[in-house]
Symmetry: C2
Subunit: 399 residues, 2 copies
């Protein structure tokens, strides 16, 4: 599990590996500007094979590369100093990428920028056959609100994004369920709104009558409070049960600790005091992708009185051992949704929490209402998570 999950997560980080491949000669010449280009920019472009072609003026450079999907592709310079080249075909959906210019890793000046892999950088959209579900349509639209609130846990003003469904401000007697929706490692509170298209997915589902309208709260879950410096531990000492932070499956990284405090002590009370939500177990959901799924796992298992709807997208599962340890989780959780990209499931692997499909089947047979979704032909990528939200949103709060 450790290898599996972290291998996947590292894929979204930027590879430092040397150039591995040149795109083959036969490239279909039907490139169109990417849908997430900066206004008026012709490059990067995408063709029907899913290849990414970019172009950059770097007249004095001697090596320029396109770095996408953990592979670097050499660009070729023309006589005017403009470098052009393309990648191998990429999976449908959204991918982070960058450009290398003589050893400098920089964003592509042609693309819009997204927060992922621990930095604001370039993103590209490979048109997906099912992209209609997150298309911008002339339907009633909700709002994506940037809000600020005081967190006493962190002793600071924090901000979050809150999606309110269409008509939220029209009928002041109506109250809504709430989903707390988490991003992945190296991402932040902007991920679901920007590359995740959470608002458009919800607007379209609600317009078609396929989802119960609900509020979505998106905060940055990579929270680490500033604390007084502790004395440095003896470098030779082995990490063991006597140290404060034992090395868990995540190598000692405190996966949900500080965020759990912000979420439970500050964010949920803020939302419930300031938005027209139904403030009870049955109308409170938590879900997340990758690290956010694992945080969802930890926090919902530890707080079975808080969340009745749980979604983990490419982020682990719930085992029989979990529900044996926490019988209230089984009792209270009315929906357990587990999903993965099909390419993540291509190779069988086990981990501390077991195989997600087998786990989910087991807890289903034990009586839980579960849903196991596999996103076709996608990996540990946003297309898997957009589809996961699309599926999850159609069944959440309907039980």
């Amino acid at each position: 599990m450790k290898k599996y999950l972290f291998g996947s997560m590292l894929l979204i980080a930027i590879s430092g590996s040397p150039s591995l491949a040149q795109s083959p000669a036969k490239v279909v010449e039907d490139f169109k500007p990417s849908s997430v280009n900066q206004p008026g920019k012709e490059f990067p472009k995408v063709n029907s094979e899913g290849r990414v072609r970019t172009q950059i003026n770097a007249r004095d450079a001697h090596k320029v590369q396109l770095d996408i999907g953990a592979v670097k592709y050499d660009l070729v310079k023309d006589t005017s100093g403009v470098w052009t080249g393309e990648s191998a075909p990429q999976d449908e959906g959204f991918h982070y990428y960058q450009i290398w210019v003589d050893g400098a890793a920089v964003p592509d000046p042609g693309s819009l920028y997204f927060y992922g892999a621990g930095r604001w950088g370039s993103g590209i959209e490979i048109p997906a056959k099912d992209q209609d579900f997150y298309a911008l349509k002339n339907v009633p639209h909700g709002e994506l609100r940037e809000v600020h609130y005081f967190s006493s846990s962190s002793n600071s003003v924090r901000h979050a994004f809150i999606y309110t469904p269409p008509g939220y401000d029209k009928d002041n007697s109506k109250r809504y369920p709430v989903l707390y929706l988490q991003h992945g490692m190296g991402e932040n509170e902007t991920g679901w709104g920007n590359q995740g298209h959470a608002s458009l997915i919800m607007d379209n589902l609600i317009a078609e009558g396929k989802a119960v309208p609900f509020i979505i709260v998106m905060e940055n879950s990579s929270v680490k409070f500033e604390r007084p410096r502790e004395p440095k531990p003896d470098a030779n000492a082995k990490t063991d049960a006597t140290t404060k932070k034992p090395a868990g499956p995540m190598g000692g990284f405190d996966f949900a600790g500080d965020f759990k405090k912000v979420l439970l002590n500050d964010l949920i009370p803020f939302v419930e005091a300031n938005y027209r939500v139904v403030a009870d177990l049955n109308h409170r959901a938590m879900a997340g992708l990758s690290m956010g799924g694992m945080q969802t796992r930890i926090i919902t298992l530890a707080n079975p009185d808080k969340f009745s709807q749980v979604g983990m997208f490419s982020g682990g599962s719930i085992s029989m051992e979990d529900i044996t340890k926490t019988p209230d989780f089984k009792k209270n959780v009315k929906l357990l949704f587990i999903s993965y990209g099909s390419r993540e499931l291509d190779n069988p692997r086990k981990g501390p929490w077991g195989d997600p499909k087998e786990n989910t089947q087991a807890v289903k047979e034990a009586g839980m209402n579960t849903s196991f979704y596999v996103s076709p032909l996608t990996a540990h990528e946003w297309q898997s998570w957009r589809r996961s939200l699309y599926q999850f949103a159609q069944i959440v709060f309907k039980n």
Copy 2:
């Protein structure tokens, strides 16, 4: 005026001029990371003189430059391939900049990105002595909402940002005045919310009781509808009164045409139907910076029944000739606010609309309620416009 305004606007575009200067040897070594760095990034840094120092790993490059304030500064490579260098002192406030790596103009991977000069690129913040007025504080906060609406003028779904003041959702009987607030050329609807800090300026003013709470609507005013291609005009024909678009002071650029339709026909009706605003002349304001100020000028002069409060920040003024031509403007406008950065006024200049200070004094003597504000020691830059909003917001809707 033409030369003056466009000279200023071009300053915010990226200079293609060769390296002009190296920073002098005596640099005060008190650099701190910029407040608008990406999370965890140490560079770029700013020192107490206002110098910007940046650093980038580009081990195979032979020339790397920092490009800020229309000057390029050479960085110096160390033995590990890391380039470092700094600029001359910059004015207080926000500035766009970029990096050149062997002829490629790219964003600095260390900074956050902002839309200006026609692209998403790097920004830096030189701490200002008066930065407290846009600081994030533990006061009640409004919301910055991304909203979508259908524009029949452009036959498309457009989006805008709407600031709602603190408590907007608390008291559903309260209605608010509205300010339509425009960005400058090469900028977009994100400018006032991101680098302009409009929400924080308003939150702080409202907390101190210095401003009437109002709603701010921010749309992209660089609107050009897709139209059927017209036959190309004879290249030798002089542009004159017989052509459809005579060359005006802006060289024929249609400054407000399509945006005027979106604003008046689509955006204002959408806002007045969906937000609790007071939908009348006395509670409707328009303001903007630079090009947005000139659009404000054109649109409010042409629609004196629509806006009673008018603000032009580094974007022209209203002359006696204007109010003679449009007596309803003088009759209806209860506040005319004109502002500039002091460095913009350093050199006397005239233009088609005359000197802004003399103009404003003249219409004041003719009986209009005017306010003329000069931002100390700033140029055609965001610090002038933040201060302009701060001043404008304290007097608007109080007449």
